[in-house]
């Protein structure tokens, strides 16, 4: 499967979500001078070069110093600015974790933390540059919204809602161009999953850049096997849309979760913990990066390796619907 040169298979192709982030932030900055981008030698990868040229007084550069980045963003926010701290997700969510925990969430300074080139976007650069721990680390911290938008629409909405939020937000963005998913549904709200397509045989709950391969698998399942699959973009990892989870589980159909994150502590475990404590017995499988020395290569190669792909999810979907319930 070649996700890199894909056409979108009948979907309109968009830009990389992190490009849409910076375009939206520029629009907001034009009408709100309290918006400040804070960068750590990351304005190139954060697509903020043009932002910096247009709004030189609305960008603060701290150099390669992610802990300082988050602390400074907390201070700016407590002084009445709307700070967006932008840095690769791997460093932002690991190096600066204590600043996030103490200075942003515990002290309730509603900074927006923008983790760019997230997951395995920097696939060939190795574990130092992967963020496969960020959902887990931040889920274990109180008072933060964790959001991983799937497409350009969700990203633009998420940036606007983050700017208006009085709560800290961690936004996780990738650098691959994404197609628009379900353009008919123009609603987006933190904490409310978006249904991308509906079907009564199987459910795939995905987030971020894994929603698209889930959609491709669902399409193929229906076209080749008549298996009708619901695909959900669970863009908000926390707070989780538990109402939607209950509705999805209610008819007993098998559930697959998929995420660009280690299986430990991510979206899948969050869904499982909620559902199984309420007595649901749906067959359930978590797809993500296993707890092992992560293979390297391009994002698409790593996705393929771990079954986060049209083919992998198609095969797993077939296995789940064919197996008679025990």
């Amino acid at each position: 499967m070649e996700l890199d040169k894909r056409e979108g298979k009948n979907l309109k192709m968009g830009d990389a979500n992190q490009v849409v982030f910076s375009e939206t932030l520029e629009e907001l900055a034009a009408i709100d001078s309290t918006i400040i981008a804070v960068t750590s030698d990351s304005r190139g990868s954060g697509k903020l070069v043009s932002f910096g040229e247009k709004y030189p007084n609305q960008i603060v550069e701290v150099g390669i110093a992610e802990q300082n980045l988050v602390g400074v963003a907390a201070g700016l926010t407590s002084a009445g600015k709307k700070a967006f701290a932008v840095s690769p997700a791997c460093f932002l969510s690991a190096r600066a974790l204590e600043q996030i925990k103490n200075d942003v969430t515990y002290s309730d300074n509603p900074v927006t933390l923008v983790g760019i080139s997230a997951g395995v976007s920097y696939g060939a650069l190795g574990t130092t540059h992967h963020s496969l721990h960020d959902f887990a680390a931040l889920r274990a911290i109180n008072n933060i919204i964790i959001v991983a938008p799937a497409d350009n629409f969700e990203t633009a909405q998420a940036v606007r809602q983050a700017a208006a939020s009085n709560k800290p937000v961690y936004m996780r963005l990738g650098k691959k161009a994404m197609p628009f998913l379900n353009e008919a549904d123009q609603t987006f709200e933190f904490g409310k999953g978006r249904i991308i397509r509906e079907g009564e045989n199987l459910t795939i709950i995905a987030s971020g850049e894994t929603v698209y391969p889930a959609w491709l698998a669902a399409k193929k399942l229906e076209e080749t096997k008549g298996v009708k699959t619901t695909v959900v973009s669970m863009h908000t990892i926390k707070p989780l849309d538990t109402d939607l989870l209950e509705r999805l589980a209610a008819n007993g159909q098998p559930i697959i979760t998929v995420e660009e994150h280690m299986v430990n502590g991510g979206l899948g475990e969050a869904c499982a913990a909620y559902l199984f404590q309420r007595g649901y017995k749906n067959r359930f499988r978590i797809v993500g990066i296993p707890d092992e020395y992560t293979v390297t290569g391009s994002q698409i190669e790593i996705f393929g390796h771990y079954g986060i792909s049209e083919e992998g999810l198609y095969n797993l979907g077939m296995e789940m619907v064919l197996k008679t319930p025990e």
Binding site: D41, V62, I64, A94, T128
Partner: protein, 275 residues
């Protein structure tokens, strides 16, 4: 190895850096070219390391803190016989251990680096252990100048002088640039010499492309007994290829076919001049 042979090697290593970045279509070109003379001198004149006995506890340690310039390290290790150079044809490929940063899966690499601001603390630990065990080997790291603002470096600077680690050598690849621009404009770290001296380090400044100066500074230490050693190596990002020198876009720029041919021909000329 004669000085002429060493100078020739620097050119060949530069050609190899470009070759494997060109094949991989990825890599940190500018910073690899700025630090390659330092690595050449370290691995061919200074470090006591042996590919056949790499785990010898008495070996000198080299931990590359500016891990993104892994191409410089890989071509140097290949040249020293740690692994066949042709392995580097898989640089950054699916499932290859030759990834875009140093990892211990590659023979000759001491530590996994790539997130900036980690190497020096690990070296402090290595240097303390050497002192505790009464070992004579030395510990070296290579820092980027853009890397300096990471607070962990300053924590390590303090502890190195506190523990009087005169067996520790930190080399600054002072190419004055990082991704966004010049260090001066991104985050000013001027007067590094004064800063380090006030932190209790002995400091030397060298031309980071002058092999004799590098050898002289790195071979004969400590600079002052009881003090960790800091070497400010003044370098040029992209050094050796005219159109890459000092140009920001070559931080992780990959040459086109045409640019690659041009770069190789410039380096071939440089090589011929040394012969």
């Amino acid at each position: 190895m004669t000085n002429q042979e060493l100078r020739l090697k620097s050119v060949v290593l530069r050609k190899n850096i470009l070759k494997y970045i060109y094949i991989a279509k990825a890599g940190h070109t500018g910073g690899s070219l700025s630090c390659i003379d330092i690595l050449n001198v370290l691995y061919n004149k200074v470090l006591n390391v042996d590919p056949k006995d790499f785990k010898n506890p008495n070996r000198d340690r080299y931990i590359q803190s500016k891990g993104h310039c892994v191409e410089a390290l890989f071509v140097t290790l290949a040249d020293r016989g740690f692994f066949p150079e042709s392995d580097l044809e898989t640089l950054c490929a699916y499932q290859s251990h030759y990834i875009g940063h140093p990892t211990k899966k590659v023979h000759g690499v001491e530590q996994n680096t790539g997130a900036l601001g980690h190497g020096l603390s690990i070296c402090v630990g290595e240097a303390i252990a050497a002192k505790l065990d009464d070992k004579r080997h030395r510990v070296f790291t290579l820092l980027g100048d853009g890397e300096l603002p990471e607070g962990s470096n300053w924590e390590a600077f303090l502890s190195a002088s506190h523990y009087k680690l005169d067996n520790l050598y930190a080399i600054l690849d002072n190419n004055k640039q990082q991704i966004t621009g010049n260090n001066k404009e991104v985050m000013n770290t001027d007067s590094v010499r004064d800063k380090l001296q006030s932190f209790g380090w002995a400091v030397k400044e060298v031309d980071g492309h002058n092999l004799e100066q590098l050898e002289e500074a790195l071979k004969n230490g400590p600079f002052e007994e009881g003090k960790p050693n800091f070497i400010i190596a003044h370098t040029i990002k992209g050094k050796g290829v005219s159109f890459m020198e000092g140009s920001l876009k070559w931080h992780h720029g990959v040459p086109t076919e045409e640019q690659y041919a041009l770069a190789q021909s410039e380096l071939n000329t440089a090589e011929a001049l040394i012969h």
